[in-house]
């Protein structure tokens, strides 16, 4: 396919779902561990199975975490909020409705910075995940089985404004969001398992258009950032062809086929969905104080953005390298101890960071001991310029100070050369190419 999309501007917003990793489910005491459950339906109870009389009780931790995410994404927080029921029938939805948030989400009006500009966050709300259907054959009969282990797992939805203008930006947004979620230590974001799910609302507009396009195409259930970028790209090409033909692309939901790298239609949205939202009478509305929200803000760890800025300022580490070294708070902590060790050894942290990212060093991120990283780097690194005469005089001093060692060396104990190198380096007080010192020593010895 030739690139036909260049006549149009991408208008893209994203909806990302992520499961929170609280110990228990959102509205009951069941264990929240759907991916490691030993068998289907073992983490269930009358509440998450929708038994008669089962009542939800909100998980406070999940609410706190959602608000923390909002604060990390520069959102405003609704001090009054509530849960609503969203009705639809599906076999994996035990109660016939999902407890979600309709008009008063916990967080609104935030943003994430990307290299191509701000992506505004419209809202973040908290809801419960559904169960899972398994289509299989039992005793030769085709059946659909339901596993409710995932039903009731706390799920956050982060919705952006249509501020994304390139497939790469979509990917960058997604990755930044994931790194923040991991930083806050509130979600594992296991994309393969569905712990984090991406949806993109994609349309194209003329570059000079003042209004949003009259249609949008929703691509659902994308489970990797690479697929996201590919899917947005594919949709841009596909929609451009339709538009150039004088048509308007159909308002519809599409899926991503990662085998053929195409999107495919799933359902048209001709009929507006009606979820019959109303406030869940089982869950009293919530009021928060601004002092409590401020306290949550205080508890926020240094976020990726802040770390990148700090490293740039303190160590002149380039942001593009920094971003690859801060996948998790643990990795960040590791990198910081490496930088400290490097500073002590008078090494250039910015070069060290580049060397690590470019795999110039045999280092396992987050694992290799910082001292070892620094030693390895020191051994490979060059060099500060040194005056030939200064070096010669330092070498002479060392030779004069250690007559016994000199004798041993001259009588054939050549391994002592490293000892002399060390002594010269100590006197130097800075790092220069070891080979230079060796040559100077060999000349004089």
């Amino acid at each position: 396919m030739t690139d036909t999309s260049s006549n149009y501007q991408l208008i893209c917003g994203m909806e990302v779902h992520a499961e929170l990793k609280t110990a228990s489910k959102m509205f009951c005491a069941c264990q929240n561990d759907p991916f490691h459950a030993p068998e289907p339906n073992c983490h269930t109870c009358p509440v998450c199975l929708g038994m008669p009389g089962g009542l939800p009780v909100a998980n406070k931790k999940a609410i706190e975490w959602t608000i923390k995410l909002g604060l990390a994404l520069n959102c405003e927080i609704n001090l009054f909020s509530k849960f609503d029921r969203k009705h639809y029938f599906y076999p994996d939805l035990a109660k016939g409705y999902q407890i979600s948030q309709y008009d008063i989400p916990f967080c609104f009006n935030g943003y994430i910075e990307t290299s191509q500009g701000k992506v505004r966050i419209r809202r973040i709300h908290l809801e419960e995940d559904t169960g899972k259907l398994l289509h299989t054959t039992v005793n030769g009969e085709k059946v659909s089985l339901v596993d409710f282990n995932r039903c009731g797992v706390p799920l956050i939805e982060i919705v952006t404004e249509p501020d994304i203008h390139s497939p790469a930006q979509a990917r960058e947004y997604g990755k930044k969001l994931r790194s923040i979620l991991r930083y806050l230590d509130i979600a594992d974001c296991d994309m393969e398992q569905g712990g984090m799910r991406l949806e993109a609302n994609i349309s194209l507009a003329k570059p000079d258009a003042k209004e949003l396009p009259a249609y949008k195409v929703e691509v659902k259930n994308i489970n990797s950032f690479r697929f996201l970028e590919q899917a947005v790209n594919f949709e841009m090409q596909r929609q451009a062809l339709v538009l150039m033909d004088g048509q308007t692309p159909a308002q519809e939901t599409r899926g991503w086929n990662s085998h053929d790298n195409v999107t495919f239609p799933q359902r048209t949205k001709e009929d507006a969905e009606d979820y019959r939202y109303f406030p869940d009478p089982d869950l009293p509305p919530m009021r928060f104080t601004s002092a409590w929200v401020a306290e949550l803000k205080n508890q926020l760890p240094a976020l990726p953005e802040t770390v990148v800025a700090k490293w740039q300022k303190t160590y002149a580490v380039e942001p593009r390298f920094a971003e690859l070294l801060i996948e998790s708070p643990a990795q960040t902590a590791w990198a910081e101890s490496v930088w400290t060790a490097a500073v002590d050894a008078k090494l250039d942290v910015s070069k060290l960071a580049a060397a690590i990212v470019n795999k110039k060093l045999k280092v396992e991120l987050g694992v290799t001991a910082p001292a070892e990283v620094v030693a390895t780097f020191a051994a490979t690194t060059s060099v500060e310029i040194i005056d030939e005469a200064e070096l010669t005089s330092l070498v002479s001093e060392v030779i004069a100070e250690f007559p016994a060692e000199v004798t041993s060396y001259r009588s054939g104990k050549v391994t002592l050369l490293n000892f002399f190198v060390g002594q010269v380096m100590r006197k130097l007080g800075k790092k220069i190419d070891v080979q230079l010192i060796r040559s100077a020593l060999e000349r004089q010895l």
Binding site: C45, P46, L49, G50, M51, P52, G53, G54, L55, P56, V57, A58, R85, H87, F89, P91, A94, K95, G96, Y97, V146, F148, A272, D274, R276, Y277, F278, P281, D282, L283, P284
Partner: protein, 459 residues
């Protein structure tokens, strides 16, 4: 004759070892054997009761037989909500109400009939047949807790548990001549109670006397971690206001001038005179028209019902949706409509606003009065079959109770007149401010002691 004992009498006699628990059970059992086939108050009897009562003998309720409305989940005991959707449903968990009842030493004698899903005020929507009024079997017991009220009136238990969404405890109590206490919304846990209208469902006792109701409420009330709408309000001993005089208490009388109350009015006015004679300051007051509460309640309740019944899809347990009866289907359709996009503002959200107005109205009234009283039901029990042609039967019968239901206020029914010819009763509804059940218990108890309408107290 031990089945005719009140709860307080039974506990006293057991304590003094004047009677044995086994004898109470034997008399209650024979009362059931003689009457239940005709009255149809019980849907399921608890075959494990004999074992359970031995273990309960040392506890406060001493193992006495208690009837429980069949919309409370009882572990190992079939729970149907009187709908064949749940025909074979045996819960693996216990509702908080029955768990607390059992922990206090109450033993479930059986599960009582109700309007299917508690939708109705007659028991005639039960998919297991109607219950008859033990006071006169040509008449209905009221509902939805009609089975529990009938079981008490017919001495087929010592006391009973019901639940009220809008009148479902007080109206059948009025029709059967029993005491019915609807606590403040959030006073008693709804966990394990089959949800009808979640924002008004309130479990509570149906009993022979005000004292019995207070004793049972003591064991049901209190915060429950499994119901987020229960309150952390401290729970007083509800028996403490029993026997206290009501001299100087201010009593506001509501809804006397409504059409349809003409026949009952003289009897009710006589009851008001009893309160004045006891020293209460009784005067008639104007409140928001209860007919508006019918609209509010109907919209809110149908909306919540349509949502609450969505879980009965027949996938995880029980029968599928084709088993719903006509009344449930009517309510699901109406509720689905009022919650639909474009209609929610016109109906559900508007109803919630009017609900707030009712709350404000009561707040103003309670600034002046200790309790408010009205008739519980416009008139005597209706004849069997009366509900069958009227889709709004319940709402009309419960009109006087719906304002306090939609506002979450507590209320208690006490018998206040008996028609000698039909043996049918009228009931007085006494309402108190939120969390002040003790106050209405005080007034109800004083009235009960001063009159002979209570058939157990006067016996």
């Amino acid at each position: 004759m031990l089945h005719t004992l009140t709860l307080a009498q039974a506990l006293e006699k057991l304590k003094r070892k004047e009677i044995s628990l086994g004898d109470i059970w034997a008399d209650v059992q024979s009362s059931i054997d003689q009457q239940n086939t005709k009255l149809n108050a019980y849907l399921t009897l608890n075959t494990a009761a004999e074992n359970e009562r031995q273990a309960a003998a040392q506890l406060p309720l001493a193992g006495v037989p208690i009837a429980v409305k069949d919309n409370f989940a009882t572990k190992g005991l079939r729970t149907t909500a009187s709908s064949t959707v749940l025909d074979t449903f045996v819960p693996e968990f216990e509702s908080t109400v029955t768990a607390r009842l059992k922990a206090a030493g109450g033993v479930i004698v059986g599960k009582t009939n109700l309007d299917a899903w508690a939708h109705g005020s007659s028991t005639e929507t039960s998919q297991y047949g109607r219950t008859l009024n033990p006071r006169n079997t040509d008449y209905l017991p009221g509902g939805s807790s009609g089975g529990s009220a009938a079981a008490v009136a017919a001495n087929m238990c010592i006391a009973a548990i019901g639940s009220e969404t809008a009148g479902s405890i007080r109206q059948p109590s009025a029709w059967c001549g029993t005491v019915g206490l609807k606590p403040t919304y959030g006073r008693v846990s709804r966990f394990g109670a089959v949800a009808m209208a979640s924002s008004t469902d309130s479990p509570g006792p149906i009993a022979k006397t005000v004292e019995d109701a207070a004793i049972v409420l003591n064991h049901l009330a209190g915060h429950d971690d499994r119901d987020g709408t229960t309150s952390a309000q401290p729970v007083p001993d509800f028996t403490q206001t029993l026997g206290k005089e009501i001299k100087g208490l201010k009593v506001g009388v509501l809804y006397l001038d409504l059409p349809g109350l003409e026949a009952s009015r003289p009897h009710f006015e006589a009851a008001m005179k009893v309160l004045s004679d006891l020293g209460a300051e009784v005067e008639s007051v104007t409140a928001m028209d209860p007919r508006l509460a019918i609209s509010v309640y109907t919209i809110v309740q149908r909306g919540e019902v349509s949502s609450n019944l969505a879980r009965y899809d027949g996938i995880r347990y029980a029968n599928d949706r084709s088993f719903f009866g006509d009344e449930a289907k009517r309510r699901i359709m109406l509720g689905t409509y009022t919650l639909s996009k474009g209609y929610a503002d016109q109906y559900y959200n508007l109803a919630q606003k009017v609900r707030t107005l009712f709350m404000q109205d009561f707040e103003q009234l309670f600034a002046k009065y200790d309790v408010l009283v009205s008739l519980s039901s416009p008139g005597f029990a209706k004849k069997i079959g009366a509900s069958e042609d009227s889709a709004m039967f319940g709402e009309l019968e419960d009109m006087l109770l719906e304002p306090s239901s939609i506002t979450g206020l507590p209320g208690i029914n006490v018998p206040c007149y008996r028609d000698a010819k039909t043996n049918l009763f009228l009931g007085m509804n006494i309402m108190a401010p939120m969390w002040q059940e003790a106050k209405m218990i005080q007034v109800a108890d004083a009235f009960e002691r001063a009159t002979t309408w209570n058939t157990w107290r006067s016996a």
